[in-house]
């Protein structure tokens, strides 16, 4: 947790700068500390407030008062006390730490940043920077904080947010400065694709390709737009070009195989899927499609690849689908007992979760 209770003492340089505190105030500070230990925060706050009134130039009194409010989670009340403490003890790390937390908790991220920097509180600093639209710095600081607490859920959450924000910011900069670049159109194409605005996405990708016909990935993405709108012939054309541009790209071969399969070009699909499997072996999606493509022409190969899917995936939805496809092959081959066994496995996996949810619209 980022927010933790701070038991502290003043740093040496703060102590040296601290003016003399009247005895009565020291007694109150001690009483307040005792009450705080007993979780009697109201009494502690009362004692610390009286101490700060008796010693208005003492950073300690205001710091203890602010800390008590922090423990009470009354950040609004903590902030004035801590601001006063920071004014009186500008070199105190605990003061900056608490004030930074309090300000951040109340949404004053920009004001919190210098205090958290001074206190070297990288996690909270990263969060404040993220909220202040500085994702690149946030990313660095959150990663530093994660080195100490690698499984902190808050830090992990904000790190992912920072990554997204940095991505968006980079995209905005790209579009603002280089809107007519190939990458600019590609980025817009991706945006339209995610919004299911396929016509607009196609236009953007077409512009990108016209500007940089040699750029790898553009046709792969455009092909996926066509595939999403079930225009498989056009998807195939794009994947063909991508595969020619990147003959070593397993994904391009896989997607080309899928497009061919969807058009009933089983032989060509099988060839392309085999090529994809050679490039990157044991990708289960590739093996599953290869099983479908060869179910009729090469049932032995289909059995082998689907069995491999099951071996790799075990009880996932894809494993269930592989069992279902195997059942069809076994039925066709007259192996009814094996088909029955496949269907039992299919049902078993389905019972583990709804593997059959259809898409709508």
């Amino acid at each position: 947790m980022i927010w933790y209770v701070l038991w502290f003492c003043l740093s040496p340089q703060t102590q040296s700068a601290e003016p003399l505190v009247p005895q009565e105030a020291l007694v109150l500070l001690q009483a307040g500390a005792d009450a705080e230990r007993l979780r009697d925060l109201e009494t502690a706050i009362s004692d610390f407030r009286k101490a700060s009134e008796l010693a208005p130039t003492s950073g300690i009194a205001f710091l203890r008062l602010g800390n008590a409010y922090m423990e009470k989670r009354d950040y609004s009340a903590a902030i004035p006390a801590l601001r006063k403490a920071a004014e009186l003890s500008p070199g105190s790390l605990p003061v900056h730490q608490l004030l930074g937390f309090a300000l951040l908790a109340r949404g004053y991220a920009a004001e919190a940043i210098p205090h958290l920097e001074a206190a070297h509180e990288y996690g909270a600093l990263g969060i404040a920077q993220l909220q202040n639209n500085r994702p690149a710095e946030a990313l660095d600081n959150l990663q530093r904080a994660l080195e100490k607490n690698p499984d902190d859920p808050d830090l992990l959450y904000y790190l992912s947010r920072a990554g997204s924000a940095l991505s968006s910011q980079s995209l905005e900069r790209l579009l603002a400065r280089l809107p007519d670049s190939a990458r600019g159109h590609q980025a817009l194409g991706q945006n339209y694709y995610s919004l299911k605005m396929y016509d607009e996405a196609k236009q953007e990708y077409a512009k990108a390709i016209s500007l940089r016909p040699d750029l790898p990935g553009l046709r792969l993405e455009l092909g996926q737009v066509y595939a999403a709108s079930s225009q498989w012939d056009k998807a195939e054309a794009q994947f063909q070009e991508e595969a020619a541009l990147q003959p070593g790209n397993a994904e391009a071969a896989y997607r080309l195989g899928d497009a061919l399969l969807q058009q009933g070009k089983m032989k060509e699909a099988a060839a392309e899927l085999k090529r994809s499997d050679d490039l990157r072996p044991d990708m289960t999606e590739t093996l599953y499609l290869l099983g479908k493509a060869t179910a009729i022409s090469e049932p032995a190969l289909a059995e082998k690849t689907l069995s491999r899917v099951i071996e790799l995936e075990r009880d996932t939805i894809l494993a269930g689908q592989a069992y279902f496809a195997l059942a069809g092959i076994h039925r066709k081959l007259g192996k009814t007992a094996e088909a029955g066994k496949d269907m039992r496995e299919f049902r078993r996996i389905q019972s583990l979760g709804d593997a059959r949810s259809p898409r709508r619209p």
Partner: protein
């Protein structure tokens, strides 16, 4: 060096000519799309801002020859008026002539006359929102009767044989209730009397209605409402029916039934039933031959897509597309899921083959409803025709690649592989029902399709030079319509039925394209297992075949 003989060269040239001919037939529209004189029906479904699910589902159409004059007549099911919002008492203004079902008699000159009132079909029931229609001669009197399904109570109209119909629902006991969708007549126990199967969609009412979608309200998927069972009525033969849904096993399963089609898929002599379910496993009810059915969809391979996922099944046709003499299934559904072809492998099993057949590539963007497998170019292979249009009237706002209005799909069958054909119209409509038949008796199959909020479309076959043969069965021991007979003509199979498609009823005559053959060999296996053979039957004619007596 390869030496090409004269014969081989000739073969190559012939093959090239054939390919060119095929290419031409693909590039030219098969149909002329035109209104029919005298038909002014509009399917009024009354869409509302409340997105009542019922309003996006109608309506059916039937092709039948009600007066036995040899000309097909047309019956359209209308929907009704839905108020926005709907308030009690729930009625649909069906007494208003704008919302009547409509019946058009074909005249000898090809025009039509609206005979709705004089036929006694104007009263559709104030509390009935119209859905579909089935046709069958349930009392074997030689005149086809009508069964109209509704959200509400269904109606059985007995054909009196004098140009009029009588509502006999109460006596017959077939009103059902709730939300009925498609229906069909079949003789499931081979007792010579037509029984009746009714699909039901959801346990839904206006009180239970709700909208779905975030930000943009739209119709809810069926999973938002409880599933419901289908109904099987057994014909007692005295003008009444018995609800045998429970005893037959049909009611044991609940689904979201839309389309229904019949065929004897395992050739055991008993008619089986396939129900196209929307986002539920498809149901294949195997007829056990003893009055009961077993649902075998999953184990037979006809319940799910080739990825083991549920279909949003809507329309269905159960005929043999690849001439292997085994009835296959074609099920239409929503976009991003291709229409599914369940190929009958024999031994009671099916395998999805929409990818291998090419139909998948033609259908991934569309929402299919009414569907037929008919040989539109008479080349001896049954082609597919699908009327299309999405469920959501605002689907474009969710996914710009989809359209609420769509033109139909014509997929030409090239020896078992489907290729895109030209249906003659690219006008997008909200297609729903479709009935298939030879409207002008020219030997070439036509299509009548319904569209929400619109006039129907008539796809009139331009014809060609290929030969054909059309058979009318007349049962004597079996049901008079011959439903359930297995008919083979020159290596093609048709299962005799008027059912299939969505909400609709087809011309009961059995049409066969013969290609270049000018003669046909016919083999009929009647439901009674009587075999009847005819050889050397001349092409290009309508033949009435009566079931032989005394065998």
């Amino acid at each position: 060096m390869v030496r090409i003989t004269n014969v081989a060269l000739l073969s190559l040239l012939c093959a090239a000519a054939l390919l060119a001919q095929q290419a031409n037939s693909i590039s030219h529209a098969l149909f002329r799309v035109a209104p029919l004189a005298g038909v002014n029906f509009v399917l009024r479904n009354s869409p509302t801002s409340r997105k009542y699910l019922v309003e996006t589902m109608p309506g059916g159409v039937a092709l039948l020859d009600y007066n036995n004059d040899g000309l097909l007549d047309i019956f359209f099911v209308n929907a009704g008026r839905v108020r926005d919002p709907m308030v009690k008492p729930f009625d649909f203004d069906r007494n208003n002539s704008a919302y009547w079902n409509r019946f058009y008699r074909q005249n000898k000159d090809g025009s039509f006359t609206d005979v709705t009132e004089q036929a006694g079909l104007a009263n559709a029931g104030e509390t009935n929102y119209g859905m579909g229609v089935a046709v069958g001669d349930y009392d074997n009197d030689g005149y086809p009767d009508l069964y109209v399904t509704n959200f509400g109570k269904n109606i059985l109209y007995h054909n009196n044989g004098d140009g009029t119909f009588t509502d006999v629902t109460a006596r017959a006991g077939v009103a059902a209730g709730g939300w009925s969708v498609s229906a069909g007549f079949l003789d499931y126990d081979n007792d010579g009397k037509l029984d009746l199967f009714v699909t039901r969609y959801l346990d839904w009412s206006f009180e239970k209605s709700k909208t779905c979608g975030t930000g943009k309200a739209t119709y809810c998927p069926p999973g938002e409402f409880p599933a419901i069972s289908n109904i099987l009525y057994h014909n007692r033969g005295d003008g009444t029916f018995e609800d045998v849904s429970v005893s037959s096993g049909i009611a044991a399963l609940k689904g979201h039934g839309l389309g229904v089609a019949f065929a004897d898929y395992d050739d055991d002599g008993f008619t089986d039933i396939f129900v196209a379910n929307d986002v539920t496993d498809q149901f294949l009810f195997h007829n056990n031959g003893n009055g009961t059915f077993s649902e075998v969809g999953l184990d037979s391979g006809a319940a799910l897509t080739n990825d083991g996922k549920m279909l949003s099944g809507m329309g269905v046709v159960f005929q043999d597309y690849d001439n292997d003499l085994k009835p296959d299934l074609l099920v239409t559904q929503l976009p991003h899921q291709p229409y599914v072809v369940f190929h009958n492998e024999g031994h009671g099993t099916f395998i999805p083959q929409e990818l291998e057949t090419g139909l998948g590539a033609l259908s991934g963007k569309s929402s299919g409803w009414g569907v037929g497998l008919e040989d539109f170019d008479n080349d001896g292979w049954k082609d597919a025709f699908v009327v299309q249009g999405h469920v959501f009237d605002n689907v474009e706002t969710f996914d710009s690649s989809l359209s609420y209005r769509e033109p139909p799909l014509l997929a030409m069958n090239r020896q078992g592989h489907f290729e895109k054909g030209d249906p003659g119209s690219n006008v997008p409509v909200v297609g729903r029902g479709a009935a298939f038949g030879d409207l002008n008796n020219d030997g070439w199959m036509d299509v009548v399709a319904t569209s929400l909020g619109d006039r129907p479309q008539f796809f009139l076959n331009r014809g060609g030079s290929a030969h054909w043969l059309t058979l009318t069965l007349r049962g004597t021991k079996n049901n008079r319509d011959g439903y359930g007979a297995r008919v083979l003509v020159n290596g093609q199979l048709r299962f005799a039925t008027a059912s299939g498609s969505y909400l609709s009823s087809n011309d009961k005559r059995l049409h066969f394209g013969l290609g270049s053959a000018d003669r046909a060999n016919i083999e009929i296996v009647w439901p009674s297992r009587i075999h009847q053979n005819m050889t050397g039957v001349k092409a290009n004619q309508f033949v009435v075949i009566e079931e032989p007596q005394g065998q």
